[in-house]
Amino acid sequence: MIRDFAVALAHYDAYLNGLWNTLWLSAATLVLASLAGAAVAALMLARNKAMRLAAAAFVDAMRCVPFLLFAYLVYYGLPALSLQLDSWACGLIALVIYHTAYMAEIVRGAWTNLSREQIEAGRAYGFAGFPLFRRIILPQLFFASVPVIGNQSIYILKDSAFLMIITVPELTFAASSVQSTYFVPFASFVIAMLLYWLVTLGIEAAVKRVELAAEVRRG
């Protein structure tokens, strides 16, 4: 068993490479899906009824679909629309569109719970337009949704593992190729699990820090 771990760890560069790909795919998804999610949330709260219904239908549909199936639909569907993309692009597109729906729901929830008095007080102090959003609304939205966004980041990280099936060389793909070459399945997947765990602990620590900062701001 110890020999197995030694064999697997001799190929540490394969794991680090896979981890790096998992990390940047997840980070890019987090950023892009947050931005797109905020836009979809705005549509969900728009005055136009058709827009509202369309945005809500998109969010509800995504929340019922397993990520792997959606990834397959993107992977096989884009070529059918005569869009030839590599597995990286397909994987990233699938992750971003899928998690946009979840992010939209998070932003909408935070927006609905936002206290109206604060905005009115901000208006009374002469804030309006972008400064009102930037100084009064955005910080509250952000701090209210940080724990949920942290949780969603963990889901993004875990969903990125599904991309190994469409041959994106992320962490689980790396563990799988090391194990199939050197026949050390137990050691190889345990190493991958520990790396996912470390990343998750990092996300949780970051959320704690932001929550602490929020408390300091509130005084």
Binding site: P66, I154, F162, V190, M193, W197, T200
Partner: protein, 213 residues
């Protein structure tokens, strides 16, 4: 659609494996939560570690570890057992956190009242705590069931011919993967929606029978 029966057979496999994991995962989650709630030394810390690690592990990585890794430690599992074990380990960690949150929120005065009436801790748990705690946990437990169904396509990777693998086999045989995957996606959506509808129904029944709360 000539391949629909094969797809439905896959859906049946997905549904049965998910149901077994749900049926075992809810009591296992409760047992783990009680260990944490009672702060049983050592065991409590082990459960916390288990939950923390499992929460971070993708279902597909866990499935690969259990199926391909278990022979290295002297256990040989068939694919179905490995599949159920994967979903069970995954869901029990999340269920543990759901039950634990409900147990922590449980009002202390009721416990003290039960003790004052001479109830043993076991009896108080069965007659006072559990009947209330399951009602508060139900929405979160059903939500976790939908997450389990959405994680279940990971099992296709260890050779289970579930709905996902059935769809990809049809795609490989017909050279047109998109239609079977679209059909499979619709079936998954129906399964998840069925759970959500069932949850609303049970919640309404609970409200009518026990009032709000």
């Amino acid at each position: 659609m000539p391949y629909l029966p094969f797809l439905l057979q896959g859906a049946l496999v997905t549904a049965s494996i998910s149901l077994v994991a749900i049926a075992l995962g809810i009591p296992l989650g409760l047992a783990l939560a009680i260990v944490r709630w009672q702060r049983i030394p050592l065991l409590s810390q082990l459960v916390a570690l288990y939950v923390s690690v499992v929460r971070a592990t993708p279902a597909i990585t866990l499935a690969l570890l259990i199926f391909f890794g278990s022979p290295s430690i002297g256990i040989v599992l068939d694919a179905t057992t490995a599949a159920i074990l994967t979903l069970l380990i995954n869901t029990s960690a999340f269920n543990c956190e759901i039950w634990r949150a409900a147990l922590i929120d449980f009002p202390r005065d009721q416990l003290e009242a039960a003790r004052a009436y001479g109830m043993s801790p076991g009896l108080a748990f069965r007659r006072v705590i559990l009947p209330q705690v399951w009602r508060t946990s139900l929405p979160a437990l059903v939500n976790e069931m939908t997450l389990l169904v959405k994680a279940s396509p990971a099992l296709a990777v260890i050779g289970i011919v579930d709905l996902t693998r059935a769809a990809s086999r049809i795609g490989a045989a017909t050279y047109r993967p998109l239609p079977p995957f679209l059909a499979a996606t619709v079936i998954y959506m129906l399964m998840v929606m069925l759970l959500v509808v069932a949850q609303r129904h049970v919640e309404r029944m609970v409200r009518e029978r026990y009032g709000t709360g």
